[in-house]
Symmetry: C2
Subunit: 226 residues, 2 copies
């Protein structure tokens, strides 16, 4: 059974370039699962704050965690209206004219209010999801949280219920009159790649490097020239 | 002469983990110049919006541009209090315990109000900077904006005057008691890499591929195992 679409509401309705927008939950979830950093926005005292944070998805919720002194987490736990945006940068789009330069990207913008997670079982599931989101399978190896840690961490759950995805792909969209200019135009694809892992200097001898470390983000095929 | 530091003010003072924070303009500028996407936050009608946008720096200002119908640009042009955040993801930090997992990153968070750019000369400089930010040197090849384009685009200037940088580097910070666990710990470095350029299908024959395309983001040395 397909998941229900998210939105649209007034603020999440796609206002422009509708062909780039999507309320399909499958598209939204794929972007959320590929991203590593979200940008969390909220307002307080006349200022808006946009903070990069780690996150993980479980079903229809995102989980964020950190120290209780973290300003963003505290605001979210207190029910602040928030916006959570995840952006994947896929390429630079070079057009023949300066103003048609663009970027290929996939992004999700979510609106809503978070709730603090107090139940220890849900906290443990969130901790596992946060580790697995960084490296799939990691939660099987890492030591799970103990009671003291669960009491001293702040975890919030943010609903994936209102928002939209936006996707731009493909070549530049130059004016017809510019197509004959002797200027290279096209896309420079970008991707986030891992390089050789750097062991913790405190790592003892004989601890094997797990497959989720050696194979991290190196498997995506090169699309090559189109 | 070094540029003046930015901030700190109440909202940009570094509240926690001060060793990770920095108000040094050199650090701030380096992060802004390496990033490609910023996340722009503002509030209106009780909602906060966080939108990914391209940008470019000229001196002590960031420039953003787009269609006049763009909600974020319009709010900025009207003087909305905004927060502009740029985040570079440098690595995944795998700790022995779930809650000490982290990410290595460099980010800049700026606060302020933008102003609309109406002067055609400044608009042209911004257009060139936006193209050059995507691919250094691009503005020499691309057709510059004409008067019609300058009248139909919205460009805003956001001051780099109040804010801070945050940087996390290095290995995980596990509890002493966990150091002996037989679990691999360390960093998986990440970097944004370009792959083979994809020419626009409408590109005519014989147009050479510029060096800023073939050499785009492929030159950073691999740090290798530490």
């Amino acid at each position: 059974m397909p998941a229900p679409a998210i939105g649209p509401t007034g603020r999440s309705a796609l206002r422009r370039k509708r062909e780039r927008g999507d309320h399909d939950r499958t598209v939204v979830n794929a972007i959320l699962d590929e991203g590593l950093v979200c940008h969390v926005g909220f307002s307080a005292g006349g200022s808006t704050y946009v903070t990069p944070m780690a996150y993980a998805r479980i079903g229809d919720d995102l989980y964020l965690h950190g120290a209780p002194a973290n300003r963003t987490l505290r605001a979210l736990a207190e029910g602040a209206e928030a916006c959570v945006t995840v952006t994947l940068l896929d390429g630079i789009v070079l057009a023949r004219s300066a103003f048609h330069h663009s970027m290929n990207f996939r992004s999700v913008m979510l609106f809503g209010r978070a709730e603090q997670v107090a139940d220890p079982d849900e906290q443990r599931r969130a901790a596992a999801a946060l580790a697995d989101h960084l490296a799939p399978g990691r939660s099987r190896d890492a030591r799970g949280p103990n009671d003291r840690e669960l009491r001293s961490v702040l975890i919030v759950r943010f609903p994936i219920a209102e928002g939209s995805a936006k996707v731009r792909t493909g070549p530049p969209l130059d004016d017809e009159d510019d197509l004959g200019l002797p200027v290279w135009a096209g896309e420079v694809p970008l991707r986030l790649e891992s390089t050789d892992p750097v062991p913790d200097p405190a790592l003892g001898p004989g601890v094997p490097v797990p497959a989720y470390v050696t194979g991290h983000r190196t498997r995506s095929p090169d699309p090559g020239p189109g």
